[in-house]
Amino acid sequence: MIRLEELAKSYGSHEAVKNLSLHVPAGELFGFLGPNGAGKTTTIKMIAGLLQPTSGRVLLGGHDLKREPVQAKAALGFIPDRPFLYEKLSANEFLRFIGGIYGFDGNGLESRIGELLELVELSHVRAELIESFSHGMKQRLVMAAAFVHQPKVLVVDEPMVGLDPKGARLIKKVFREYCDTGHTIFVSTHTLDVAQELCDRIGIIMNGELIACGTMDELENHAKTEGHDLEEIFLKLTSGDGFRESEES
């Protein structure tokens, strides 16, 4: 579903991502971890088509993002860490617009919007302007928007930021169920316990390179640690850099 082939991105002499190759198959929930400045967001922006790779290619649902951008993006749902919402639209209007972009209209779209708003518990405010929503409500609306077209691939940057425990539990449940129906989710997060709890496989990027990738057992073997603790594995593999940078930021 997601295939990255020798993906690289440079800014002048700085190599933000170096020859990253990765395959995330259908039905997998993949966690993408790394210290600050490791290249996570650059990778995600290249997958979403917001940044042109310096070299390499991205395939989404079998479509090359460069050669068939519209088809590749039709298979993609993207939730950035700071998502954009039209503040002067109502939740209903926003979801109708998003549905329209993906070629949906009519009664089918209306019932889909109704289902999604109910799922994220925003039905009661569907006609209200988004500007009046709390941060958590906006996050849930963004989630609903990403699911309008039922993308084959969902890419999420920091999904739990700003969500209360109830919202976080809802999102975790939704993500798991979505993958169980054969869809792929690629999640970048700093919340290691969420990654450990949710993800089928985890990749760790550092200085633009994928330094480890696999299931929890595989990562444990790779890091030569015991106790099935992702935080310990992460800190050992990144030599504590991630921890130090997180502390600093």
């Binding site: 979403a48 088509g49 917001l50 951008p69 519209v70 088809q71 993006k73 039709a74 993609l76 993207f78 950035p80 998502p83 954009f84 039209y86 503040e87 002067k88 639209l89 109502s90 209007e93 926003f94 617009f97 998003i98 329209g100 972009i101 993906y102 070629g103 949906f104 209209d105 089918g108 889909r112 289902e115 999604l116 109910e118 799922l119 302007l129 699911f147 077209h149 039922q150 939704v174 169920e177 979505y178 129906t181 869809h183």
Partner: protein
């Protein structure tokens, strides 16, 4: 659960159609409408104040041009060439303002707008995205210029023997002028963004804005309008007509627009060549802009 039974999606429309462009403009329209609906008393007051100031300024512009045209009308043998010169200066002024306004507006609508990350990660064809941004740029950059050209053209219409024909000619001339200025201005911004980082482009545009003012003054100076406002100060009739031999920008769309306006004012049939040049240039610059966008947007 809403995700458990994905229904079969309708086929996606990937082609570039005017409908797609309009669909991308829907949030802007709905935001505008919702802003008006949710406007409080202070917003209404601010709107009314803004409209009042605009109206006063419009009346001031109308009054100024009306008096000037009445004054020019006193010099029977010089009225036509003087009016020609004033129309030429006005058209040049409007074209330059539209162009400058577009270069600045295009930077925010086409490159720095917050919703671009949402739209670019969606399956929208590039021409449709560019087309919708071009329409948005045109609306945002030209509404004020067009609004304040109305009292100017109204003054010409009121002092013309054929006011309605003049207003028709003005509409036929102004529409392609807007399209040309927006297409060319947007191309300039695209080239700047392709060569320089966004922050540098922003700084450059401040400099360019100052250069536009200089260009405007230069273009008006080329027309030498002050010589023509006092024909009696010119002793020799040949000297007076020589004033019209100053380098005329015959390749500028504003001079084609002027030809249309003069014909409209004289109640003559609109000349085919300037009309064809204006509209074909508008179409050509739009196509060129789309082509450039495909290459570098």
């Amino acid at each position: 659960m809403a995700f458990a039974n994905p229904r079969k999606a309708e086929p996606l429309r990937f082609e570039f159609t005017p409908r797609q462009v309009i669909a991308l403009l829907v949030p802007s329209w709905q935001s505008f409408r919702n802003r008006r609906r949710s406007a409080g008393k202070s917003d209404v007051f601010r709107g009314l104040l803004f409209a009042f100031v605009g109206l006063v300024f419009g009346l001031f512009v109308f009054g100024g041009f009306y008096r000037m045209l009445l004054y020019i009308g006193q010099f029977a043998e010089f009225t036509a060439p003087l009016t020609h010169q004033v129309l030429a200066t006005t058209s040049t002024f409007i074209l330059t303002l539209l162009f400058a306004s577009t270069v600045v507006t295009a930077l925010s609508t086409q490159y720095l707008s917050d919703d671009l990350s949402l739209l670019v990660s969606s399956p929208i064809s590039l021409p449709a995205l560019y087309g919708s941004r071009l329409v948005l740029t045109a609306l945002q950059s030209s509404w004020m210029v067009v609004l304040f050209s109305i009292p100017i053209y109204a003054a010409f219409a009121f002092t013309s023997p054929a006011p309605w024909q003049f207003l028709g000619a003005a509409a036929l001339a102004l529409a392609p002028l807007v399209v040309i200025a927006v297409a060319v201005g947007s191309m300039v911004t695209s080239v700047l963004m392709a060569v320089f980082p966004a922050r540098r482009v922003r700084e450059m545009l401040v400099l360019l804005a100052a250069l536009f003012v200089v260009l405007l003054v230069f273009l008006i100076r080329v027309q030498q309008p002050e010589k023509l406002l006092n024909p009696h100060s010119i002793y020799d009739i040949s000297e007076f007509f020589a004033a019209f031999q100053t380098p005329s920008a015959s390749l500028l769309p504003s001079s084609w627009a002027t030809s249309l306006l003069i014909a409209g004012r004289r109640a003559q049939p609109l000349p085919f060549m300037p009309l064809a040049l204006l509209w074909s240039t508008a179409a050509a610059t739009t196509v060129l802009g789309c082509w450039l966008a495909r290459a570098i947007y």
